[in-house]
Assembly symmetry: C2
Homo-oligomer: 418 residues x 2
């Protein structure tokens, strides 16, 4: 079973909105054994929508569109669907009741535009959108399945999860398995060189992909067949070998993140954490608190963007800043120990660096970052990094490097390298 | 001049990576008057790459591909290009020298894989990639232009900016103008109802789109023609009218963000800011410090995730938390005033809420958020919000609502509503 996704909206073609829907849908479809072979983004243009539906229906068995179902005039997907399926719009009572329910819930008055959202092509089965006013639509036409969903990610996801996936899952007998190994602090080609023998020994039906991001390279293994058990068994063997080759760079698997892995370790060790951040400006704290339940191990942070705050709120000595500069080993040690004491935690992270674009010197160019990590096991350790010239990337890479440094101290304490 | 973008990579089709390249490229192409009519994502599959190139070349004048140029075996775009253009790979000395330069800079040893990256199809003009080892490629074939760029966003962007856009800009005589008005704290259909008369009076060549995000609705106006001056003049008139209709919801335009607008206001008023964050966990601080130069007005934050930190680091009274709960008007007032005093700033933001998924009660359900904002003009004011059930969205909406509340206090002080 092959599927294609068509995302509709002028905003995608002028680059105002990044299409995040397709990636989410593709992942979900893959998990139920349906391969996505193409994703197409087109404008809110009647002829182009009809043409894209036609082209996709030649190549794929299932065609899913998102977007163009809003209450406003720029949304024309329903009319294009009527044209493609040679049908017309009818008023759908249940959809209208759902719209009324949502407006009552939010305390808004119903407008005429919202009433029109209850109209759907006569040949479709309307799918109830619990989270919004645009109903989903399901069509069967020339032996193919067509599904039209709203472009609001939150609404699309609920419709996929509750209405679409449960019906299409039984249609595929193919199992597709992906496993992703997450590495930090090492470049793509260096990694490829390290694992080249292991890679050469992979059978042809196991595909390997390198997926680099700032500070992280993900290694994705994909395999497909009929028996999930056989596929898993074979993949697990290969992954065990991979761990024995590059264990020092691996921090997690699949949907894990450094912040979730560190959170899990802190929880297991019954430890508490605080952060003292200068150049990362709260980003480490944000990553940590993006994990639900982080309040059990995370106490808080002192974001000391100015030197005065480093002195007054963290207890860094003025002379330390004067003698060594605020981006220095000595200052991050005092920051890490200061925040641990002030916020009464067992562990802490401290970061001070030059994120850029300004503030660099010959001695300490933009991208220079000092990180300190303090744990009960290894005391306060520090590391200096030299990242690049780009502010956003420097902030992200600093935060990941800091979390990985903490992770390693917590693992050392377990006296095992996974 | 019409362009199409083809992004290549298995990771896109299994949903492991979100395609951010296309949006960036589409925006840049639009700005030089080139309309992007389709974006297509396909797998690292030889036949599919060749077919996608062929299809796109029928519809568009310029075809730009990204991805599949890495040093590893899963990257096959160059071989597919050779097939499509009926040519073969040759070693390109200048590209090889660039690869050597980059490896020397990073202190890495050159691998055989990297040497192969210096090979390009014989009929192309190689484009120097200053930031990476994969050269860009430029082809002319059957009267069309084909450009192949690496998928790493950072490398692709530099190649587009330095090599591609300067050459294709003079090819278009069409001017496309987009103007986006940014609103906060109001729903899409409510907004559409408010501006329906204004919208009806727009001439047919000015298109309006509603682009909702959590907490923000962007209104994009697009127009095209030959004279930039005429188009700008007409658009400006419409936008002046729009401001007079919904000024209370508008916080900025185009690429502005709440954090950049607030930063600009603080700078103009010569004020300093600190934040005290509970449920937002440092996200407000991260947004503020994502703006280069924010150190001139931002002192830092105290992220008080635990009640103990609210008491010890912010000076919130234990009895206030016991009497009113940590998510309360009384607590956010003490947080805002506490952080202002501790970090010695004129302004502050404080947030305490229940981000979820757990922690809600009948009285204070998940999504309940109290925000306090303190300025020299309007003192410390508070507002209660009830967002939804989704942690990530609650964090984001809380941060935006807090920044907008501060923005409004700073504007009130100017005694003018824009």
């Amino acid at each position: 079973m092959k599927a294609e996704i068509i995302t509709i909206g002028d905003e995608l073609l002028i680059g105002q909105v990044i299409d995040t829907n397709s990636a989410w849908m593709a992942r979900e479809l893959n998990m139920v054994g349906i391969q996505v072979t193409q994703i197409t983004s087109i404008a809110d243009n009647h002829e182009h929508i009809v043409k894209a539906l036609l082209d996709a229906s030649i190549r794929a068995d299932i065609i899913i569109t998102t977007g163009g179902l809003g209450p406003t005039r720029d949304d024309i997907t329903k009319l294009a669907l009527c044209d493609f399926f040679k049908t017309h719009l009818i008023f759908h009572q249940q959809s209208f009741e759902n719209i009324e329910r949502i407006f009552t819930l939010r305390g808004y008055a119903l407008t005429e535009l919202n009433r029109k959202q209850a109209e759907v092509p006569a040949t479709c089965e309307a799918l109830l959108n619990e989270n919004g006013t645009a109903p989903g639509m399901w069509f069967r036409f020339n032996g193919k399945i067509f599904i039209s969903l709203p472009g609001v990610p939150f609404e699309m996801k609920a419709l996929m999860t509750n209405h679409v996936l449960p019906i299409i899952k039984p249609m595929s007998n193919m199992v597709i398995i992906h496993k992703t190994i997450l590495t930090q602090g090492v470049g793509e080609s260096f990694l490829a060189d390290k694992i080249k023998d292991w890679e050469s020994a992979l059978p042809p039906h196991i595909k390997l992909a390198y997926l680099p991001q700032p500070g992280i390279v993900r290694l994705r293994l994909s395999t497909s067949g009929i028996s999930a058990e056989t596929l898993h068994h074979e993949l697990d063997e290969k992954i065990t070998l991979l761990y024995s080759t590059i264990s020092e760079y691996i921090f997690g698997e699949d949907e894990e993140s450094l912040e979730s892995v560190v959170g899990q370790l802190l929880r297991e060790h019954n430890l508490s954490l605080s952060t003292a951040e200068s150049c990362t400006g709260g980003y480490i704290s944000h990553l940590i608190t993006s994990i639900a339940g982080s309040s059990t191990y995370f106490a808080g942070s002192i974001i000391s963007y100015s030197n005065e705050v480093k002195i007054s709120a963290l207890g860094v000595k003025r002379t330390t800043i004067e003698d060594f500069g605020s981006v220095s080993k000595e200052v991050v040690i005092e920051m890490a120990e200061g925040v641990k004491k002030k916020l009464n935690t067992n562990c802490s992270i401290a970061v001070s660096g030059i994120a850029g674009p300004d503030g660099g010197t010959d001695d300490k160019p933009v991208g220079t970052v000092w990180i300190a990590v303090s744990t009960p096991y290894t005391g306060t350790i520090t590391k200096r990094f030299l990242f690049g010239e780009h502010r956003e990337r420097n902030i992200r890479r600093s935060a990941l490097a800091a979390l990985d440094l903490l992770r390693k101290q917590l693992i050392i304490s377990e006296k095992s390298i996974i």
